[in-house]
Symmetry: C2
Subunit: 208 residues, 2 copies
DNA sequence: AAATATACTTAACACTGTTAATAAAACTAA
DNA sequence: TTAGTTTTATTAACAGTGTTAAGTATATTT
């Protein structure tokens, strides 16, 4: 059935158009200016057509949130090549920070906005868990476990350790994205400061 | 001029009514359901009357954000009584976490929402800096400086240290508030986990 | 009591997400 | 090719949003 296949492809094409338009609006005009009508304008369809491809606005944001995780995964694809787990952890942290600051809108959807989680909550069946987030967190935990096995970090609860590390990098990036550093330090100082803090954190956490 | 004074007081009364109504709506129906019309309904005035007391919606949120900082300050009023700076730091961290989880809407306004910062940006004159946030951050830095002077924490850049600590606790609280732990661990486990992480963090940061 | 200043409301503009009903297009079967 | 069916897209509408301009009461002052 080549015809049904082609139709399926076209459907995905329009979904992609909608997602691209939404992201364009988000980046250029901010989250609160992403409206169904503006999306429809951009893709040159009527507003209600959007609802033929997405259940509601939250589902669009959920899909963008997933794309964000894919991009982040792509950025981390060379990580396994780093043998030393502590060095890998350092690189992971650096990647996280760089990703967040360079893709603030995606980061917002992945870790700050409520909308994607709302969409998840309304889903039934096997997709109702936060697969993308869970998987990223498991990656972090795996590397931390390696660090402890190798003795680079002295043994503690894996969950506590992982939460400490994630909390820290997320804290920095989210404060930056939501403008809490803007009135505290010059803009060009934010990234260097984070990288210094990352160095400090890894160094402190490392077994002496 | 007793009459002008009374009028001023009445003006403040209505401002307070508006702020209370806004907070009630925020807590009971969520941020996106705080609308000028609903506020007006609650205080039994017409929608446009709200604009006689606040420039716009952002200014309401800015004022609530300030109240949040006042509440947090109130919570911390006994901190200076703790002599040992490291113990004080630990208590500060605990207070921060408890405050954030117990007053999620205030915390949201203080450290996550864009609206209060937008209001700040549009202000001119001496109020255009983030006074509330700066002051809280200076408090943290003062205690950290004491820790380093006493040798409880080995000397490093004060700014880097402060950012590390703040980033961590903010990371945890904001991830919790925005539902990123909900699909990862049972709800009643979140606070204990944070407190364990706090212990771990202070212990790790402390000079051995 | 008249004039002025303050407080408040009504009406309107230009938006928003979303649904129901309807029209157009594409595909299927005779 | 034509008739019927399914898919795709649209128009119209509902119930809301922030905000401004203009008009109306209510107080205060002269």
């Amino acid at each position: 059935m080549g015809i049904a296949e082609r139709k399926e492809k076209q459907k995905l094409e329009i979904r992609k158009l909608i997602l691209e338009a939404s992201m364009k609006l988000f980046v250029e005009e901010g989250f609160e200016n992403v409206s169904i009508r503006k999306i429809a304008d951009l893709i040159e369809y009527s507003p209600t057509t959007v609802y033929l491809y997405f259940k509601d606005k939250d589902e669009i944001f959920y899909e963008l949130h997933n794309i964000g995780f894919l991009l982040f995964q792509e950025m981390n694809k060379d990580l396994p090549a780093i043998e030393d787990p502590l060095a890998r952890l350092h690189k992971m942290g650096g990647n996280y920070i760089h990703f967040g600051l360079a893709n603030q809108e995606y980061y917002d959807l992945m870790f700050i906005q409520r909308a994607p989680m709302e969409a998840l909550t309304q889903m039934k069946g096997p997709d109702c868990g936060w697969a993308a987030g869970d998987s990223a967190f498991e990656n972090l935990k795996a590397t931390l476990e390696e660090c402890m096995e190798k003795g680079s970090i002295s043994r503690t609860s894996l969950d506590v350790l992982a939460m400490t590390v994630w909390g820290m990098v997320h804290g920095w990036v989210s404060l930056a994205i939501r403008g809490r550093f803007e009135k505290m330090m010059p803009k060009e100082q934010i990234l260097p400061m984070m990288l210094l803090s990352l160095d400090f954190m890894i160094d402190t956490i490392a077994a002496k």
